[in-house]
Amino acid sequence: MTTQPVQVENQTGPDAAKTAMLRTMIRIRRFEEKLAWLFKRGQLPGFVHLYLGEEAVAVGVCAALRPDDRITSTHRGHGHLIAKGASIDKMMAELYGRVDGYCRGKGGSMHIVSFELGIMGTNGIVGGGIPIGTGSAWGDKQLGRDSVTVVFFGDGASNQGVFFESMNLAAIWNLPVVFVCENNGYTEWTPTHELTAGRIVDRGTPMGIPGEQVDGNDVEAMRDATARAVARARAGGGPTLIEARTYRWHGHNEGEEAFAGDYRPQSEQDEWRGRDPIAAYGRTLVEEGVLSQADWDAIDAEESAGVEAAVEFAAASPFPDPEEALQDLFAATPKGSMR
């Protein structure tokens, strides 16, 4: 990161943690808004799925994790990565296809990986990360560590077979995994309730997996629910399913207006924008006296500047040598693993 943390006077412990959550949500917001702007102007190769409106889920969940805990992410994964500590410089460079990106330009938006940060990858296949995260939880447990893996997935992925299979495997092997379903109401361009029987949160019940439905726009509620699930997993209590109810402000992917038409009522969109998780949390922190409006504004300005700096960083980074396309398929010699 190129920005300095904002100084808010007399902040310690819980207040500092709250301010950090607000800051991270704002970072995600400004990053995603910038991507929408860049996409519209043809500055980004490929296509992006934005996390606008869902920031409280990723930030609340990751606030309950340790650095050595892990996540698997989705096609809508930028928020998860930023919340887990990813550098927006290196993320932006990856989105630009540049050599200073996390994957040296080989991955792009849907395949950003940073194993050292416990980020096992965003994923281009809906539900694709669910078995992988179940597996990292198994690996950590088998190797005697107490790390926990959070598996992020969407409401659409809740209808993939691997979701049910992975819950079953996690239950019978008692794995330290937290399944976090971000239910944003739409499976691509179709309302999820038309495609999904029953409540997603109940889908672990037959397997004995506790489920909790949480307001996904309430960052502290997300943090607290995740903390309970993580504590249980770390203590050997096995998996938990969390269903976060939220809403994506933008389309399934940027540019969808070219073909998707109106598929979400304006009143519904207005209602959810009125429940902006960042505005709500900022107001709460001001009311609680955690920070002032001026502090909030300063944080926002810093994060906006940070995103501009990330774009500059990305644009200044060279494209990889084309011959790099032929590298990294196989490891030539044993290098050791993630840690």
């Binding site: 994957c103 690996g139 088998q142 992975s166 079953n168």
Partner: protein, 327 residues
């Protein structure tokens, strides 16, 4: 080759000896799959007695999930070995195999090693019918990111298993069904055969027959019969298809000037097709006759014995292909 050792061993037990050696040398090696404790095919039978149920784990019948779970587990330091039981079952797990396991290292810019072995008994077993007779090595060769091992002898089966498990990449190890009960001499002490190194199973001067998996013993039988007629056939087993020992194949064809490739898979886009194209591109000047491919008919493998026989590679097919290159 180690021809001096007198220790006849079943192919399936040679695989198990390789597995056992790998588990003994590295406690991060774990074996999972359906019924791996009892092991219907046999390669994992008894391992749980030596290494415990924690390292030899029965899975639910959830191929996609346990194939994918190994990606996450390997990324954090485990070395999983997966028994898929039957080659056709790879289809159930295709996203996790082809889109996740094979691609994660590459997509991440080489950030992680994924030491995983996926093995299965594969190919026709005698009226196994369409869904238990598949050989997926041709399509898996096209995935990029999977190494592919397909041994033909118990000796190779053991040494290649140890190398596959030691390899820091996803390896698909295919045990041709019909070879499981064949016997050959296998040294007791562990040994490794490097991936990507082919083996000439019989030297010859008139024609090179590249044979894969269960077609190797068939090709050898035909080659020995032709010896009586004064035709000297070289039988070359690539042993691994990714990486492929192109140098050995080109060197052999360079000497004989003739090529037949025998594959236990459908003809279209078979390994035989790829190997033939590779030789034509790189060794055209050395060829004295058009190369011949011997493979299955392009239909699913049928159940009834005469139908199955019609579709699969038979010894006369190999013989005729050899004679065609010599005519």
């Amino acid at each position: 080759m180690n021809a001096t050792i007198e220790r006849p061993t079943y192919f399936i037990n040679a695989m198990k000896e390789g597995l056992h050696a790998a588990m003994a040398e590295d406690e991060r090696v774990v074996v999972i799959g359906e019924d791996v404790d009892r092991s219907v095919i046999g390669a994992t039978r008894g391992l749980s007695a030596d290494f415990g149920r924690d390292r030899v784990r029965n899975t639910p019948i959830s191929e996609a999930t346990f194939v994918g779970a190994c990606v996450g587990a390997a990324a954090v330091g485990l070395r999983p070995v997966v028994d898929l039981m039957v080659g056709s079952f790879f289809y159930v797990a295709m996203d996790q195999l082809a889109d996740q396991a094979a691609k994660l290292r590459y997509m991440s810019g080489g950030q992680v090693d994924l030491p995983i072995v996926y093995f299965a008994a594969t190919g026709p077993s005698g009226s196994g019918a369409a869904q238990h007779s598949e050989n997926l090595h041709p399509m898996l060769m096209n995935v990029a990111g999977l190494k592919i091992v397909m041994p033909s002898t118990p000796y190779d089966a053991k040494g290649l298993m140890l190398s596959a498990i030691r390899d820091p990449n996803p390896v698909v190890y295919l045990q041709d069904f019909v070879l499981g009960g064949t016997k050959g001499n296998v040294p007791e002490a562990p040994y490794a055969i490097p991936l990507g190194v082919g083996d000439i199973k019989k030297h010859g001067t008139d024609v090179t027959v590249v044979a894969i998996g269960a077609t190797v013993p068939k090709a050898l039988k035909v080659a020995r019969a032709l010896e009586k007629d004064g035709i000297s056939v070289e039988v070359l087993d690539p042993r691994t298809l990714v990486p492929l020992d192109k140098g050995l194949i080109l060197e052999s064809v360079g000497r004989t000037g003739r090529l037949v490739v025998v594959d236990s898979a459908r003809l279209t886009c078979s390994a035989a097709s790829e190997i033939t194209a590779m030789v034509v591109e790189n060794g055209f000047d050395t060829l004295k006759a058009a190369p011949q491919r011997v493979a299955w008919e392009d239909v699913p493998v049928p159940f009834s014995p005469p139908l199955e026989k019609r579709v699969l590679v038979q010894e006369p097919d190999i013989l005729n292909a050899i004679l065609k290159t010599l005519s």
